[in-house]
């Protein structure tokens, strides 16, 4: 499997898709769970993650001793095998992988899990992710900006000039997208409004009790023009978890079977150095999504319900374009009106509210929601949803996960 490109890339390419083998139908998600999501709560990362893990175990009807595979990724205090055993008082051998967690990996973890299941390395594999950055924020430590400021080129060539942190990067991207394609603030607002409506319907969403109309959005002051606070994701404390097994074992569980139909991962040649990204108004979904859809044997038009990593409204808009739901540059028109709404839209999106309005757990709650949608057990339920897709992202790379109700 190629996991880094050889340079130079073919002409006009600015990234690549991982060369994944076909694992379609070889894994299923059998349990999902999440913690309470809140503003600063004083909880630790372990506390929120174990709350989500226990909820996922309960949902799957499994005991801690049934979990023999653990995935996690970059986060403060991940739940690794040692932490799992310390919490549950278990001691059994477990397969362990750091290719899990949130962001891109909330989408791609099922790939490594499917391989491990096929190779007999594990039978029930847990992926978890959580953050308590709302609690830590008061100390101005941690959080999404800090890791970027620690990177040597950003620290020395971007931060000194005020091109920092993420709201500034992506406001710059949004402004350029508006220039290149005519995208408008109202179109970004349509994304914020759809997500908020979904959060208003979803128990546990941080913004559950706070409605948002397009007029509210227009009246909201800029944080950094063209972004208003409603264009930017929440910072909250919380966690999510999901458990994967084979479809055969999934059929023994009480819940409807939700199979992994396809996975794709794409990487930008300029990595975290977005300032240098050749396709500045695109995301690596241009590489990840087509690969995932090809593995699943579907076209974008076959997707009934979509979720995508949405730190800023512009990132949703770009991923919709880059995943092929509309032409590049047509994202603004695509998201206008009711397109993204669960009950009347052409492509219901972030039906739990997303990072914008549900919780800041970096994509793992999107997968939890997608599974609920395909079980027909979600709050803002898309009628008859059969195929769902989730786009995870973290700037330097992106992943797409296609799930199918079976």
């Amino acid at each position: 499997m190629r996991s880094t490109a050889s340079l130079p890339l073919p002409r006009d390419e600015w990234g690549w898709a991982e060369d994944y083998e076909d694992i379609s139908g070889q894994a299923a998600i059998v349990g999902v769970g999440e913690s309470a999501h809140s503003k600063a709560s004083g909880r630790t990362t372990h506390q929120v993650v174990f709350e989500a893990i226990e909820a996922a175990l309960d949902d799957a009807g499994l005991a801690p001793t049934d979990i023999d595979g653990l995935m996690y990724g970059g986060q403060v205090d991940p739940v690794d095998v040692a932490a799992f055993h310390a919490h549950f008082g278990t001691s059994h051998d477990m397969w362990e992988s750091t290719e899990g967690g949130g962001m891109t990996w909330a989408a791609t973890a099922p790939y490594q899990a499917a391989q491990a299941l096929r190779d007999g390395k594990a039978t029930n594999i847990l992926n978890s992710f959580g953050v308590t950055w709302a609690t830590q924020r008061a100390q101005m430590v941690g959080g999404p900006g800090q890791s970027h400021a620690a990177e040597q080129f950003k620290q020395n060539l971007e931060v000194p000039f005020g091109w920092f942190p993420q709201p500034v990067y992506f406001a710059t991207v949004a402004r350029r997208h508006m220039h290149e394609f005519g995208t408008t603030e109202d179109q970004l607002g349509a994304i914020a409004v759809a997500c908020r409506r979904h959060a208003n319907l979803t128990p546990g969403a941080v913004m559950h009790d706070k409605p948002l109309t397009l007029d509210d959005y227009r009246a909201s002051p800029y944080i950094v023009e063209p972004f208003r606070k409603e264009d930017c994701c929440l910072i909250s404390d919380g966690a999510g978890a999901y458990i994967m097994s084979t479809p055969e074992r999934a059929r023994d569980r009480p819940q409807p079977v939700v199979e992994v139909a396809g996975v794709g991962m794409g990487t930008s040649v300029t990595g975290v150095h977005f300032a240098q990204q050749p396709a500045f108004t695109s995301t690596p979904q241009v590489y990840a999504a087509p690969a995932a859809f090809a593995m699943a044997g579907i076209d974008p038009g076959d997707v009934d319900v979509y979720g995508c990593y949405d730190p800023f409204t512009i990132v949703t808009l770009m991923q919709l374009e880059d995943s092929g739901f509309c032409e590049k540059g047509a994202g603004g028109e695509f998201v206008s009106g009711d397109t993204l709404h669960f009950d009347r839209g052409k492509l219901p999106t972030n039906t739990h509210g997303g990072l914008l309005s549900h919780s800041y757990v970096l994509g793992i709650a999107h997968v939890v929601e997608m599974v609920r949608q395909l079980r027909h057990d979600a709050a803002a339920q898309v009628p008859g949803a059969e195929i769902g897709a989730f786009g995870g992202f973290t700037g330097m790379n992106a992943g797409t996960l296609v799930l199918r109700r079976s």
Binding site: S6, L7, P8, L9, G145, A149, A150, Q152, F153, Q155, N156, L157, E158, V159, P160, F161, G162, W163, F164, P165, P167, V168, A171, T172, V173, R175, R176, H179, Y222, I223, V224, E225, V269, T270, H273, A275, Q276, P278, F280
Partner: protein, 142 residues
């Protein structure tokens, strides 16, 4: 984070020629020895041709405005004295694939236009509460 953050760290070997150039009033950029493209940022390989060696070379400081934002809220305490300011990405005429993150000064934000012609203006960068000063490339209208 080094002591004078968010000033550039002049001890960082990888970028020392950049700051030495700036102090001398020159925009020096890493230029690929194989294909002459700018290697930016100067990582292990030139992403255009894959070669791994470059030479720091003085280049023309003309650029165009690629995108910008007006920062009114200081995202770091050190920025408090400077807001509101324009932070931008400019594409170098010498190789438009290479963009500099920079400040645009001597122009009202409402007069900024995409692709407008800009030229280098080295300025001393200082932050309140931080010791030291570094000469850095800002950009002004041509």
């Amino acid at each position: 984070m080094h002591d004078h953050f968010p000033l550039p760290d002049l001890e960082l070997e990888l970028l020392r020629p950049y700051w030495e150039g700036a102090a001398a009033g020159e925009l020096r950029m890493p230029t690929c020895d194989a294909c002459s493209r700018l290697v930016w940022y100067p990582e292990e390989q030139c992403r255009h041709c894959g070669a791994s060696s470059w030479t720091w070379t003085a280049v023309d400081g003309s650029a165009t405005l690629f995108s910008w934002v007006v920062v009114t809220h200081p995202f770091l305490p050190a920025f408090a004295d400077d807001t509101p300011f324009v932070t931008a990405l400019v594409a170098l005429d010498a190789d438009p694939a290479a963009r500099l993150a920079t400040r645009i000064v001597d122009i009202e934000p409402e007069d900024l236009r995409f692709e407008m012609a800009l030229q280098l203006s080295f300025r001393p960068l200082r932050f309140g509460g931080v010791d030291g000063e570094v000469t850095v490339p800002f950009f002004i209208p041509t």
